[in-house]
Symmetry: C2
Subunit: 219 residues, 2 copies
C-alpha cells in the first residue's frame, strides 16, 4: 500500500468520525478501507449532466450546489448538499450504471468520499445503518425536490424569492448573503430586472436591506 493511500485511509476515517457518527465502527472501518478522497476547489464542477457514476459519493467537507440544466444551458438551482449527506443520485446510478441528469458544483473548497459500487452489495446486506442511511438520503432529497415543485407550481415569483432567501440564510448560516441579483435570477430561472424590482419591494417592507454585492436579511 502506497503512502498516499495510507493517508487517504486515515483521512477517510477522520471525516467519517466527524460527519457520519451514526455509522457503527465496523461500518466506518469498512468504508475507510475502501473509499478514496477527492478534492474540489470552489466553483469546480463535480458532476456533469449525463455523466456515468462508478461510485457512491458522500460529502466530507464543503458545500455542493445541485442544478438542473435546461435545453439552452440555463441552470436552475435544486438544492445544496452538506457534509454528512450523500448524493442520492450517485447511489442509484451507481447500482444501475445509469447516467445522471443533474449538474453539481462545489461552492466552497469541498472534499468528497467515493465508495466503489462493488462495495454496495456488502454494505446493504451487512449494515442496517447503511441501508437506513441510503433510504433516508433518498427520502430527504425526494421531499426536498417535492417542495421545489410546490414552489414552482403554486407560488408566484415574489414568494419564491422570499423562500429562496430564507433557504440561503438557513443553509449558509448567515443573514448576510454575498450574492448579486443576476445570480439569484439564474438560480430561479428568472431575469435580473424582475429580481431587482422584487428585492426593492422587500426592502420597502423592511424585510431585507440591499447593498452592492450583498443582501442583509431580517427574517
Amino acid at each position: 500500500m502506497s503512502q498516499n493511500q495510507a493517508m487517504d485511509n486515515y483521512s477517510s476515517s477522520f471525516f467519517l468520525g466527524k460527519h457520519f457518527s451514526q455509522f457503527e465502527p465496523a461500518l466506518k472501518e469498512k468504508i475507510a478501507a475502501n473509499a478514496s478522497l477527492r478534492e474540489f476547489s470552489a466553483g469546480e464542477q463535480i458532476m456533469q449532466t449525463g455523466q456515468y457514476f462508478r461510485s457512491t459519493v458522500l460529502i466530507a467537507e464543503g458545500r455542493v450546489k445541485l442544478y438542473r440544466e435546461g435545453a439552452a444551458g440555463e441552470e436552475f438551482f435544486i438544492y445544496y448538499l452538506e457534509p454528512g449527506q450523500a448524493c442520492a443520485l450517485s447511489m442509484i446510478c451507481a447500482t444501475r450504471q445509469e447516467t445522471s441528469q443533474i449538474m453539481a458544483k462545489a461552492i466552497e473548497p469541498t472534499i468528497v468520499l467515493t465508495i466503489p459500487i462493488q462495495l454496495m452489495d456488502d454494505l446493504m446486506r451487512e449494515h442496517k445503518t447503511w441501508y437506513y442511511f441510503v433510504l433516508d438520503s433518498y427520502r430527504s432529497r425526494f421531499e426536498e425536490l417535492l417542495t421545489v415543485v410546490d414552489n414552482v407550481i403554486f407560488k408566484s415569483m415574489d414568494e419564491r424569492l422570499e423562500y429562496y432567501l430564507k433557504r440561503q440564510c438557513e443553509k449558509l448560516q448567515t443573514k448576510q448573503l454575498r450574492i448579486t441579483h443576476q445570480e439569484i435570477a439564474n438560480d430561479l430561472n428568472s431575469s435580473r430586472e424582475v429580481i431587482s424590482r422584487l428585492l426593492k419591494k422587500l426592502e420597502q417592507n423592511r424585510q431585507i436591506s440591499l447593498f452592492r454585492n450583498y443582501i442583509e436579511c431580517h427574517f
Copy 2:
C-alpha cells in the same frame, strides 16, 4: 390461518408471478407469506397527504395517480404508478415512520400488495433483487420528478400540454383520451379556458382531434 388469509396468500403469489417476475422464488414466497391485499375502486383515495405508512405498497393491478396538493386544495398531477411498480414514498416513509406529502388516487379498480415494515430489514439483507428493486424504484420516481420540474421551469403551457397528452397516451396505451378540458387544467394547475384555447391550436395544427369528453391524439 383463516380461509380469507389463505386466499390472500394465493392471490399475492398470483400477482407476484404476473408483475414481479424478476423476484426469485424464495423472495416471492417470503413476500406472499407476509403481504396482504387491499382493493380500491376507481376514484378512491389510496393515500392522503400527511398520512402515516405502516407498510410498503406494491401495485398488483390497476392504475394509481399521484398528486401534490397545494395550500388551496389544488391537485397537481405528478405521475402514474402501474402494476409491477412500488410506491417509492411508502418504502422510505415506512422505514422511518414519516408522513407522506403526496396524495394517491386509484383511477381504475386497483389491487395493492402491502408488506409490513418489519419485513424490510430481512428482505434488504437477504435479497439483492429486493434492494435493487427498491433503489431502482427510487431512481425512476426521482428522474420522473425531475422531468416534471424541467417542464414546469423551462417550458411554456403549450409545450407542457403537449407533453402531458403524449404521456397520457403512452401510459394509458391509447390515442383516445377520455378526459375533459377541466380535468387537464386541474392536472396542470392551469385554467380551463387556457387549455381549451391551446387544444384548439393543436387541432388546427392537425396534431389532435377534439370531441366532447375525449381527445384523439395523432402523435
